[in-house]
């Protein structure tokens, strides 16, 4: 018997096929069950995760509503108020109660930790502060101790808000400002010696020295966008636990009228809603223009005017500045750009480095503007 013959006589038994077939089927079945279990497990895990996330979110929301804690924690529930002063700050409820004359119910309130939700709700101010997710911007005369602060972010210079009443349209009739937490937008930067402007050098916008900055309360403060303000002409600055409002005051370079309007209209994403003319003496609105065509015409007149240094020089030498006409350009987001119109020139409320940005106004243009004001 040769080897080939021997090999050929070796072969699997006929019954092996059925055994193999059943084994293969059994294994496929087992694997499919495993796959199905794995899929179910994945779906269960995903469902658990969703449930967990939802629960955590709900718990967090409830905590926001009910938790009373130390200053650190309560900062998130704080309220920002503006009233009689310049600075805008966020303080917790207790701080507000103890520092504000308006709140006359401190009885029984000894510390923030002792406040219950119920008490806090009762003791909270009635003008919206204390509501869930609300921040009351509270003004304080403390902010004026060292004068308003100016900060510089690239070419744009902002000044700490310093009028008795909130200037923009955000505030209520009392000049108080209550914003939602969600109105505080994304972080822009942190302030340092380069961005803090020396109090004594507002005109030339010189930065603070390191020693000055170390004493400045805004050193290392964080700048956030103000979500209500589409054109970023107003910003929120957080220094320590306090929040302040800054608005655009200067542009650190020479710009045309068109560029200034472009900043406020955020390149047309924040269009002009209306233009108001005011009587300067009484600060009373004499006419409000909402017609798009008229608005465009007025804007075209403004942007056609060129800056003329001789006007600035003349004014610097003592030319009387009797503003003939006050014009307020109201943007879609509520921010305003004030334009002071004279017989032969106009200027914006936004300054420019080392000068005030006077734009020469021809007689024809002046008369056109006057016709819109009447």
């Amino acid at each position: 018997m040769n080897y080939f013959y021997y090999i050929e006589t070796t072969g699997p038994d006929k019954s092996l096929k059925s055994r193999v077939e059943s084994a293969v089927k059994c294994e496929i079945n087992r694997k499919n069950i495993l796959i199905r279990k794995r899929k179910t497990a994945c779906m269960s895990t995903a469902a658990c995760f969703l449930l967990f996330a939802t629960t955590a979110f709900a718990a967090r929301s409830m905590n926001d509503n009910t938790r009373v804690s130390d200053n650190d924690v309560s900062a998130s529930e704080n309220k920002i108020t503006t009233s009689t002063a310049i600075s805008v700050s966020i303080t917790d409820d207790v701080t507000e109660v103890s520092h504000t004359e308006q709140k006359s119910e401190p009885a029984g309130v000894t510390s923030a930790k002792n406040l219950t939700t119920e008490k806090r709700t009762k003791q909270g101010p009635s003008n919206g502060a204390g509501q869930i997710g609300k921040i009351k911007i509270k003004s304080s005369t403390d902010g004026t101790k060292s004068g308003a602060q100016k900060i510089r972010l690239d070419d744009l210079v902002y000044v700490q808000y310093c009028s008795n009443k909130y200037k923009g349209s955000w505030g209520n009739d009392n000049g108080d400002l209550v914003i939602d937490k969600s109105d505080i937008g994304e972080k822009i930067c942190s302030l340092d010696t380069h961005s803090l402007i020396d109090y004594g050098h507002w005109d030339d916008l010189s930065a603070m020295s390191s020693s000055q900055a170390s004493k400045c309360p805004f050193n290392n403060a964080t700048v956030y966008k103000f979500n209500k303000c589409k054109n970023n002409t107003e910003l929120i600055v957080k220094a320590g636990e306090d929040y302040y409002l800054f608005y655009l005051s200067d542009i650190a370079r020479k710009v045309s009228a068109e560029e200034i309007i472009d900043v406020y209209t955020a390149s047309n994403s924040n269009p002009i809603k209306c233009i108001s003319f005011k009587d300067i003496a009484s600060n009373r609105v004499t006419k409000k223009i909402k017609d798009k065509g008229a608005i465009n015409s007025i804007v075209n007149i403004l942007i056609s005017c060129k800056k003329n240094k001789s006007v600035y020089d003349a004014i610097s030498k003592g030319l009387p500045e009797d503003t003939a006409l006050g014009m307020v350009i109201v943007l879609d987001d509520g921010t305003e750009l004030t334009v002071n119109i004279e017989n032969s020139f106009f200027n914006f409320s936004v300054n420019q480095r080392n000068e005030y940005g006077y734009y020469e106004l021809s007689d024809k243009s002046y008369k056109s503007l006057l016709s819109y004001a009447k």
């Binding site: 018997m1 080897y3 080939f4 021997y6 090999i7 006589t9 070796t10 072969g11 699997p12 038994d13 092996l16 096929k17 055994r19 193999v20 077939e21 084994a23 293969v24 089927k25 294994e27 496929i28 694997k31 499919n32 796959i35 199905r36 794995r38």
Partner: protein, 164 residues
């Protein structure tokens, strides 16, 4: 991961094509009918539940032989470790030689004189027609090792046959 389906025609084709090859290879390695059948079954289970894609039939064939040899080696290891109690009396006649004459005894003696590796290499080289290079790839050993197995197998076979 997609669900695995059993396709009868696919199974039939593959069984027809590879069952003998796998069984014979396993049998040459193990010299045990039951174990060779177990290995064959295991190889088919792996083939039909695997998601592996083969370039062509040769690729598939080489993969099957590789798996077969690995499984056989595992069986031998288990046997060496005493995990499997086998009947020492390896019955070559169990299924294949039942109708053969006395000559089968001679061949069984001859086959038993070879080691497992030698038997597998002899089978793959002389019967299945694989080259030494191909066998070295399948068994994952050096070509010289395969050559050595073949040379020693031939020597053993010659010695036994001449002695008889």
């Amino acid at each position: 991961m997609a669900k695995i389906c059993f396709i009868q025609s696919d199974f039939d084709d593959k069984y027809e094509k590879y069952s003998t090859l796998i069984y014979r290879t396993a049998y040459q390695y193990l010299l045990n009918v039951q174990t060779a059948e177990d290995v064959t079954q295991e190889v088919f289970v792996r083939l039909l539940t695997s998601t592996k894609k083969f370039n062509d039939d040769e690729h598939e064939k080489a993969w099957l032989l590789r798996v077969t040899i690995n499984l056989c080696k595992n069986h031998l290891k288990m046997r060496a470790n005493g995990n499997i109690v086998l009947n020492d009396d390896i019955n070559l006649c169990g299924y294949a030689f039942e109708n053969l004459s006395d000559l089968r005894i001679d061949m069984s003696k001859v086959i038993k004189s070879l080691s497992a590796e030698q038997r597998a290499v002899v089978y793959l080289h002389y019967y299945e027609g694989f080259s030494i290079k191909e066998i070295s790839k399948i068994t994952k050993s050096k070509e010289n090792t395969v050559k050595s197995h073949l040379r020693r197998a031939r020597h053993n076979l010659k010695t036994i046959i001449e002695g008889e």
